[in-house]
């Protein structure tokens, strides 16, 4: 992942009210936090709050599919994919997991069967599977698929994509339409193949989590928890963990404090991934063009200093009691710069006369 990755994603999901993508391991702790983050996001959008329960249920169902399959294939690194997004009155939930090629045919048969049935027939099949323990033992996924079709009220959208000689990815996408928007808004069309191209980009560039949406304090916590869980596995060294955590907090709170606000929303995008044994963090948000000059000056000043000079600048800002707190002072960025491998890599991408897209990329 480099600095251009931020805009690659932002440009594709800029119309989304929210979008969250995750690629990696699926522990219970991580899935819980992914659901918590999605629920927080849903709550924040009035038109969606009614479908919160349904969406949470469907997400849990998707995760179970990923986890269930993941457990079976311990020999391969469990790379699952998960996406939730809200765009044009529709809430999308996409999941992807690896499946042994020899099992594809059986799963396809199940999917086709579910898709061929009416609402009432699905209900009957559901009862049948529940009552017949033999069927449910054979394929727990079967029940999950039926429930997904019933709860979403849509045909299951799925695709298989080759991974290697033995495995393929099984992708599945669910659409939930909100009541209000279904009546008077054009329903968006987000093809499953787009989700898959995002997943490919994440795998190719080693990206773990992408979050586009509101960056108020409450949404920061589940994000931090997801990363912490992942860090836990990556690092035994708690100093490194603390450092990443610190950089994350400062960057996420910077979005919240400095971004161009649309209504009450503090919108931005955040990406985290790996590069060799380091972490790469990108953030992006819109800023007013008139602030570019002073911001560039601050960033260039920080980048021109060595570690010792940065420390002195940090301490002098800490002691300067005339500086405004909570932004402007740049103290957070200075402290980040002291702890990263390369300089603060940044870029402004012009949007219109009033605003630009600002992105920052750090390696720690």
């Amino acid at each position: 992942m480099d600095i251009n990755t931020t805009f690659w994603f932002f440009d594709r999901i800029k119309e989304d009210n929210l979008c969250m993508l995750y690629s990696g391991n699926f522990s219970d702790e991580i899935t819980n936090k992914l659901i918590e983050l999605s629920e927080y996001n849903i709550n924040n959008i009035d038109a969606l709050s009614k479908m919160k329960k349904k969406a949470s249920f469907l997400m849990a169902e998707c995760f179970q599919n990923i986890v269930r399959h993941g457990e079976k294939y311990k020999e391969v690194p469990s790379d699952g994919f998960f996406l939730t997004k809200n765009w044009g009155g529709v809430y999308y939930i996409t999941s992807g997991n690896l499946i042994e090629k020899q099992k594809i045919e059986n799963l396809k048969t199940q999917l086709e069967k579910v898709n061929s049935l009416s609402k009432d027939e699905l209900k009957m099949l559901y009862r049948e599977v529940l009552e017949n323990s033999e069927i449910s033992e054979k394929g727990g996924a079967g029940l999950g698929l039926i429930e997904m079709a019933r709860k979403s009220g849509q045909k299951l959208d799925y695709l298989f994509k080759n991974k290697n000689d033995n495995f393929s990815y099984f992708y599945n996408q669910i659409m939930l339409k909100s009541d209000i928007d279904a009546l008077n808004q054009k329903v968006s069309d987000f093809p499953l193949t787009d989700s898959i191209s995002y997943h490919k980009k994440m795998v190719d560039e080693n990206i773990m989590l992408i979050h586009k949406g509101d960056f108020s304090q409450d949404s920061i916590f589940p994000v931090l928890k997801i990363i912490e869980e992942n860090l836990h596995k990556e690092f035994k060294d708690s100093t490194q963990k603390k450092k990443i955590f610190h950089i994350l907090v400062e960057l996420l709170q910077n979005i919240s404090r400095h971004c161009y606000k649309i209504g009450d929303k503090k919108e931005g995008i955040f990406l985290i991934g790996n590069s060799d044994s380091n972490f790469v963090i990108n953030t992006g948000n819109l800023i007013k063009n008139k602030n570019i000059k002073s911001f560039t000056k601050l960033l260039d000043e920080i980048n021109s200093l060595n570690r010792k000079e940065l420390k002195n600048l940090y301490l002098s800002k800490l002691r300067d009691r005339n500086l405004p707190n909570n932004g402007g002072a740049g103290i957070g960025l200075i402290d980040i710069a002291r702890r990263i491998i390369s300089p603060l890599n940044y870029h402004f991408h012009p949007i219109d006369d009033e605003k630009s897209f600002f992105t920052i990329n750090v390696i720690a």
């Binding site: 708690s238 610190h246 907090v249 709170q253 404090r257 420390k311 909570n326 957070g332």
Partner: protein, 127 residues
């Protein structure tokens, strides 16, 4: 005597107890509120009041797990107000605890130590 000040621990705010009667002064936990000024304003105001008529000895214990840079700035303000106790001929000191494996908190403690004129001990937490 000044009423004790207490602030409950949350996921982004530290536990704070300033209790002159029992001579207990402690800050612990996480501090990463988005608006640290808002959170620390009453804390610092309490210290300003207290520093006018402090106990004979005041020993502040800080054992933080994490704090963001805007909290660092407010903590500095707090320490500066506490430093004024020295002018009243009373004693004041700060002990800063860090986990043995936590270089960030240790480093932050040493930084405060280097810019304050108050006895400031940076100690490893004993588990």
């Amino acid at each position: 005597m000044l009423q004790p000040f207490e602030s409950k621990e949350t996921r982004d705010k530290p536990y704070i107890i300033f209790d002159p009667q029992n001579n207990r002064f402690e800050i612990k936990g996480n501090s990463l509120p988005e608006d640290s000024t808002l959170f620390y304003k009453p804390v610092i105001e309490w210290i300003i009041e207290y520093a006018k008529n402090p106990n004979e000895t005041t020993h502040l214990i800080c054992s933080l797990e994490y704090f963001n840079s805007s909290s660092a700035k407010m903590m500095y303000e707090l320490f500066i107000e506490l430093e004024k106790i020295k002018d009243t001929e009373n004693e004041v000191k700060i002990t800063w605890y860090y986990d043995p494996e936590d270089n960030l908190i240790e480093e932050k403690g040493l930084e405060f130590q280097s810019i304050l004129e108050i006895p400031f001990n940076v100690l490893e937490k004993k588990s």
